[in-house]
Symmetry: C2
Subunit: 477 residues, 2 copies
């Protein structure tokens, strides 16, 4: 990390490991093809050197960097990296992988090896990856935990993936409100370590109820004789275990939090949320947003088989196919008009194309407003009014341009007027669809981004063909 920027570091690690793998592979091929024992011995020596160098390199890397390398290698090389990663770090590498790759690695490993890798993980990490681990392995791992850890893990897993409870950690440091700061320091020293991302300790009263937080700077800076109760902050951001995790991530960003307490329904402290987990969540859900917009049901590993990837895309392509058939039949109804005025065939995709773009622009803005928590009550009304206004204005501007284009190429002013009118009407419809699709999905509690762009383009295609060809049939044919 000394000489280059941080992006290059990842890249350099990856290239280096790839080189080592290349040598590794070369030697393996040689060893298998050569016959002479003498040769074999030499090769196997080189081989062992290469392996040692690879292992050495991996030992020096952060587990997140090993995970990055695993994600960027094809499956057969992943196995080699896994085997050369030291036993006690394999579980951590598994935690750092993206969901899809983790599922694959976990499925490909011998059950025993996986169980061994999971042995060193704490209940937080286990809960985080539980969904991606074969059930039997998970059961075996859980049975090795202490009773307390086991009950914590069971509780945490039972929360659905969109709730704070699923993301909270059990690692936290609590102090009593009647203690003095010097007692707190003694307790910290006695424990010998502080959970990572601890910027505040949680304060409980005698009955174990949550009272507030004690920031670490307060412990460091204030008079050691002061009572926790007198220096703690009681007006703090706290979460319920059944809060939505998306809201929690926004709150972390809004209030610049590093950690925050999680309470259950009865106000009892049950866990802790930390900024690293929220940041992970934010980035992952954003990466998925763009995919869902295009109608990809879930993230794809770059090295998954073509067959699997193709199927992942079928659902929305099939939806798209059905809507395309509908659009095609709508045009079919007007085949008589097209036969009489073939210019209609050449002009109809213009209306459809601009309408599709307009609808998608509107949806992009609605989705952004939803993700920023801005779409509520009266704002929906504002947004509708504004989008309708914009599309009327754009409909007039682009309607006139397209009308002129039609007039110039076909020397037919009536055709120009018809396409101008169709454009105006269709852009209003496009704005309506672009607003209605995500807002309706959101109100129904569905994912507002999923396949939105497919649905919008489909609707604007069909309606624009219908409106343009319909108007043309009435006025021109």
């Amino acid at each position: 990390m000394e000489q280059q920027d941080i992006g290059n570091v990842l890249q350099t690690n990856l290239e280096h490991v790839k080189e080592l793998l290349e040598k590794h592979r070369l030697v393996e091929t040689l060893t298998h093809s050569q016959e002479t024992p003498r040769h074999e011995l030499v090769e196997s020596l080189t081989h062992r050197q290469n392996v040692a160098e690879l292992r050495n390199r991996l030992d020096k890397l952060h587990v997140a960097d090993i995970a990055y390398i695993v994600e960027n290698l094809p499956p057969k090389d992943r196995t080699i990296i896994w085997q050369e990663t030291s036993l006690d770090r394999r579980g951590d590498v598994l935690v750092e992988l993206t969901e899809t790759v983790r599922q694959q690695v976990a499925a490909a490993l011998p059950r025993e090896e996986l169980t061994q890798a999971l042995r060193d993980l704490d209940p937080d990490d286990l809960s985080y990856i539980a969904d991606d681990i074969p059930e039997e392995v998970l059961r075996e791992t859980v049975s090795a935990l202490s009773a307390e850890e086991r009950s914590w893990l069971t509780a945490s897993i039972s929360y659905p993936e969109d709730m704070v409870g699923h993301y909270m950690s059990g690692a936290m440091f609590t102090v009593r409100d009647q203690d003095r700061l010097e007692d707190v320091i003694l307790q910290l020293r006695a424990k010998g370590e502080i959970p990572s991302h601890t910027d505040k300790l949680f304060v409980l009263d005698r009955r174990g109820l949550f009272k507030g937080v004690l920031p670490i700077p307060t412990v460091l800076l204030r008079e050691p004789g002061l009572k926790v109760h007198d220096v703690m902050a009681s007006d703090v951001v706290k979460f319920r275990s059944n809060d939505k995790v998306d809201e929690a991530a926004l709150a972390f960003e809004r209030y610049d939090l590093v950690s925050a307490p999680v309470l259950n329904e009865r106000g009892k402290l049950v866990g802790r949320l930390t900024v690293d987990v929220m940041m992970d969540h934010l980035r992952e859900s954003n990466a998925e947003d763009m995919l869902r917009l295009a109608g990809l049901s879930k993230e794809e590993d770059m090295f998954v088989t073509i067959w699997k990837s193709a199927r992942n895309r079928w659902m929305w392509l099939t939806v798209n196919l059905c809507t395309a058939f509908i659009a095609s039949r709508i045009i079919g109804v007007f085949e008589g008009s097209i036969e009489k005025l073939v210019a209609l065939a050449a002009l109809m995709p213009i209306v459809a194309s601009i309408a599709g773009n307009t609808g998608n622009q509107t949806t992009a803005l609605v989705l952004r407003a939803i993700s920023l928590g801005q779409l509520n009550g009266k704002n929906v009304f504002y947004m509708v009014r504004k989008e309708v206004g914009i599309s009327m204005m754009n409909g007039m501007v682009f309607g006139v341009i397209v009308g002129l284009f039609a007039y110039v190429f076909y020397d037919n002013w009536a055709l120009g007027l018809v396409i101008c009118g169709a454009m105006l009407l269709e852009l209003l419809i496009a704005a309506g669809v672009g607003l209605a699709v995500p807002i309706t999905l959101e109100k129904l509690g569905k994912d507002p981004a999923l396949g939105a762009s497919v649905v919008i383009t489909a609707t604007t295609d069909s309606t624009s063909f219908f409106i343009f060809l319909g108007l043309a049939t009435i006025f021109l044919v």
Copy 2:
């Protein structure tokens, strides 16, 4: 924040403030329309009560929450909120606003009022919002700073918006490597405060060069007599002021950082990056990604005028219009064929629609790989091979389905074969375009997402019309 989930809290604040504003407005209308002095007196009393209640409410809110309210109100109400926010918090509210709203608010305020609001901001915050403040106001504010702050601010502003230097803070706590931990605690107490998001102190040697970091837990837990040099961590993630901020944000996520040192080219400590700023950046750039994909040049404030918003969308709509004209002219070339076989007009949008969807799916995956830093060297080759494979497979599957559809509706097996072949060819092209557009933009150092969906749909439209109508003209007409 006691009884409801965190999303509702924002909502409740907003509703409450809106209610107060409603009363405020009602009274204003009354006061202006009534003539009787008696009445006026009563109204003005109620008015004053309302204002007091509003101010009271705002005083209790976090500045980020006030910013949320401002963003969710139309411009005229924004002014009222601004006026009732206490003087010393106005600057902080400004910092918390999104860029577009901040620019508007700053432009709408009297210059003097703005200068006053900026007076209490530290150089970090000033640097963060500098681009959105009228130049004269900025100059006046800067001139009020100390010489040291001024030079820091000038340096920070001079970094472009995509570099770490633009985002770093000057607020950090440094210690000497030869000090003992007890000295460090004394220094901290003497200073009396620690900058927010300080999970580690930065260690300098006698000559002021950066040596490593001293985690706060170490200060708290280890023997006070130990030397900093012996307990500090020297192998730490650090950034250069000219690193890309996107890479830095990913590194924060990857290595679970709370804060990290920023060095200049000569290894001198020049600032500090913190996780709250990185998280802000991550969320904002993600929100913009979706907009840019749809061809919206920048984020839009919900309350900006229709006229301004309409123009924001014109650039890509105009691009789209040009490409639609090209597609239309391609169809125009084949008008003779369409006149002879009008079914072509009804079938051609099916090919275009599926191709557009395929291209956008591929692009979504490429963009995701780019944003995760996975697209490099050999991986590009893997991705190309895979996408081509998938599109060949999907081309065959959907080609056969569409071919059957054409055969069933038009009882013409040759037409079915032609559209099947066109589908296969076109999906290969769509995959190629979906790969080429973002990868080329990225290699050219341009934003790979900007308008990608517009360009892809345009290309797949034109090529699919050309291939389908071309094949039909050769084999059918």
